[in-house]
């Protein structure tokens, strides 16, 4: 894995910088994307903590990130559909963060070139909360949020 990184360093040029930023962002350098689960990031309890763990700078609010097929009110917190699309050029990854869940970071999607920066999935929400879409594009971070009211919690026990 290290040798790959060195190759990347050797090739030089603009692409290298981008790849390095990508490698340093969400992951430890040298790891393949899906190769290792970023435990530290998924353990974080606040937005600031999550951003620090993944090495992100303060994200800029962006109107180019939109939620689609996402309800304002979710009847069942155990299954809340979330769709996020980013119109920001060079979107590299999209993360979903639920503010009031025990651990904020819910999912991170890596968008390789050729894949549309639009994903949809379903998440659990313990209670009504803001949901953040954190987008990394061209090495910079952008965020948008949406409040979802939950009438029945999804993390009950």
């Amino acid at each position: 894995m290290d040798s790959k990184r060195r190759d990347m360093l050797k090739t030089g040029g603009g692409l290298t910088l981008l790849s390095l930023v990508a490698a340093a962002g969400w992951l430890k350098p040298g790891d393949g994307w899906a190769a290792e689960w970023n435990k530290a990031a998924f353990d974080t309890k606040s937005m600031d903590e999550t951003l620090k763990t993944i090495g992100a700078t303060t994200p800029a609010q962006s109107k180019d990130i939109t939620f689609f097929s996402t309800p304002d009110i979710a009847e069942n917190g155990a299954v809340v559909p979330i769709g996020i699309t980013s119109a920001i050029p060079k979107t590299e990854s999209i993360a979903i963060l639920v503010e009031k869940n025990p651990n904020m970071l819910t999912a991170v999607f890596d968008i390789p070139p050729g894949t549309e920066p639009a994903i949809s999935t379903r998440v659990k929400m313990g209670q009504s909360s803001n949901v953040y879409a954190l987008v990394k594009a061209d090495g910079k971070y952008y965020v948008a949020s949406k409040e979802i009211k939950v009438t029945l919690g999804g993390c009950g026990g």
Binding site: A34, A107, T121, R122, G154
Partner: protein, 103 residues
Amino acid sequence: MADPMKIRANVVGDTTEVKVLMSHEMETGQRKDAQGKTIPAWHIQTVNATWNGKTVLSAQWGPAVAKNPFLSFKFKGGAKGDKVQITWTDTRGDTRTDEATIG
């Protein structure tokens, strides 16, 4: 071994839309059983999707992804008859790969 995924991949114009339904408990590690003991976390951690051997989406998931996860995404390219392959790995190290033909 977990149940197979349901994968549907359709090509519309120059993009392929993939919809996946996985079968997984996605236990959060927050719940307690009747004896008050915490049920350990057990959830999918990584998901990887490939088309013709090229990664078209990869993801890292926490326990807050809903039970029996749903995922949909689109990528440019793909033709009828091509294969889309999805692999997930969970916290127990279990892994499952399923394949669908683009229709």
